[in-house]
């Protein structure tokens, strides 16, 4: 039952009363790649913050790798789910690249040797091996996005959850990030507006609109349904 995400009848109401998610159900199987699309404010980011227990459902249940998201399981679930935030300046909160990539492994109480090995491997995987001692602020957006992914790869997550990985990147940085994601054999749930990324990388698409799941199906079927896309403010690639 590893590498899976089960969301059952999830409803979430923000403290101010705004209903961000209404009766959302979603199931992602092992090594499946699912794209989460929909207009701004549809609830995509709110849903993602439920997958590692930052937010807890007002009603309904979230299960990750067979474990329900509860206070008892939260440490294990955060090690399994690598959540990469949209803005790398939120994700990279240490001055130095090394410290950010080491943050997760250090909190898993791994020995120093292992931490260093994982930092090297993670930076290597995203092509940033020469930047361990750089100051995050001085990196370009594309480099920051890569380092942000390295900060969760160093935790050896079973599931990657990415929020807008290609937003704001120039074509070359975008292409190399897509190649990077394509090389990863993992369960992947990605929120994006980039429909060409969806067509390139994902086998399944979930449309979230107005706090509800509006459609869920194979990428080919969804992207060829022009009426459905238009209805939810999306465009075919």
């Amino acid at each position: 039952m590893h590498h899976t995400i089960e969301v059952e009848n999830l409803t979430y109401t923000y403290p101010g009363g705004h209903q961000a998610l209404i009766d959302v159900s979603l199931s992602v199987g092992p090594d499946e790649r699912v794209a989460l699309v929909g207009p701004n404010g549809a609830g995509k980011s709110t849903l993602m913050l439920h997958l590692n227990g930052i937010y807890r459902p007002t009603s309904g249940q979230v299960t990750v790798g067979g474990l329900p998201v509860t206070d008892d399981n939260i440490g294990q679930i955060r090690a399994w789910v690598g959540l990469v935030f949209q803005n790398p300046d939120d994700q990279l909160f240490n001055p130095r690249v090394f410290d950010d990539v080491a943050f997760g492994p250090l909190h898993m109480a791994l020995p120093e040797e292992e931490v260093r090995r994982r930092v090297d491997a993670a930076l290597d995987a995203v092509g940033m091996q020469d930047y361990a001692d750089h100051i995050s602020h001085h990196l370009s957006l594309g480099q920051k996005k890569r380092v942000a992914i390295a900060t969760v790869l160093s935790m050896h997550p079973k599931i990657l959850v990415l929020d807008e990985p290609t937003a704001g990147l120039d074509p070359r940085a975008r292409r190399s990030l897509i190649n990077l994601l394509d090389s990863m054999e993992r369960t992947m749930l990605t929120a994006t507006h980039d429909m060409r990324l969806v067509a390139d990388l994902f086998t399944r698409v979930v449309i979230l609109d107005n706090s509800r799941v509006a459609a869920d199906g194979p990428t080919g079927d969804i992207l060829s349904d022009g009426a459905l896309l238009t209805e939810h403010g999306l465009e075919a690639p």
């Binding site: 939120d90 990279l92 240490n94 001055p95 080491a102 898993m108 602020h137 001085h138 935790m155």
Partner: protein
């Protein structure tokens, strides 16, 4: 991108640059403490301490003029000491024209002492920053067992200072881009109060943005297993030679303190 050059160490690679950051941090803090403890009016000792700072600057190949110039930034904060001049005890030197406030001699001495002491303390901190990279300094703090939460706060300050400075620059660029003037008007058509209000709103918006960012950053920390417990890689042993080098300025300053307390 805003560059806060003052926060970066100088390019030179001197003995002071290479000294263990933990030693430098303790030396700088000790020098500041000793300076603070100096009795009021010990001007000879202040000059000696100032000379010590300048000697360090020369060893570190940092321009002494630059160190003094940057330390002047503390002067506005010393303003609080000015009240001492008018509230101090007798003897009075003179009275201020117009208001007639008496100028107290001991008050004046105290005020000038505080200004000197704050300048010297800031110079010690400037020399520390000029010879040590901020990230190294953070490492030194945590390996000296300074509580992790404090180190984390200082680390965030450094990390997000740049971003906030960028954000402030973007806000004021956006304001300037829309601050047009009708044809034939002077440089600005609006009153000082109007412009002050705009600036006030910008500061408010910066505060709200910083607050919202702090929530997102905290979520990113939680996502990677943050529990509030301090985490770090064990620091290497201190090298005795570095400790010895560090002792020299501290001992000089401490003996100055002892002498001026006795005299």
């Amino acid at each position: 991108m805003i560059q806060l050059q003052h926060l970066n160490p100088t390019e030179a690679d001197t003995a002071l640059h290479r000294l263990d950051p933990r030693v430098k941090l303790i030396v700088a803090l000790s020098l500041i403490l000793i300076t603070g403890l100096m009795p009021s009016g010990a001007f000879g000792a202040y000059i000696a301490l100032f000379a010590l700072m300048m000697a360090e600057a020369i060893i570190a190949r940092v321009s002494p003029v630059l160190v003094v110039a940057r330390s002047l930034a503390v002067l506005p904060f010393s303003l609080a000491a000015v009240t001492l001049i008018f509230t101090g005890p007798e003897p009075y030197l003179a009275a201020l024209p117009v208001t007639g406030w008496p100028i107290s001699e001991p008050g004046l001495v105290q005020c000038v002492s505080i200004v000197f002491k704050s300048l010297i303390s800031v110079q010690a901190a400037i020399l520390l920053i000029a010879t040590t990279h901020f990230t190294t300094l953070l490492w030194a703090m945590s390996s000296l067992r300074i509580p992790g939460v404090l180190v984390a706060i200082i680390s965030f300050m450094y990390r997000y200072l740049f971003l906030l400075a960028d954000e402030a620059a973007r806000l004021s660029r956006a304001r300037d881009s829309r601050s047009a003037v009708p044809a034939g008007s002077p440089v600005t058509a609006r009153s000082l109060i109007f412009r002050a209000r705009t600036t006030g709103r910008m500061i408010g918006s910066l505060l709200v943005r910083a607050f919202e960012r702090s929530e997102r950053v905290y979520n990113a920390m939680l996502s990677r297993g943050y529990t509030g417990a301090p985490m770090q890689i064990d620091p290497p042993q201190l090298c005795p030679r570095d400790v010895l080098i560090g002792l020299i300025p501290v001992l000089i300053a401490a003996s100055l303190l002892a002498i001026s307390l006795i005299i």
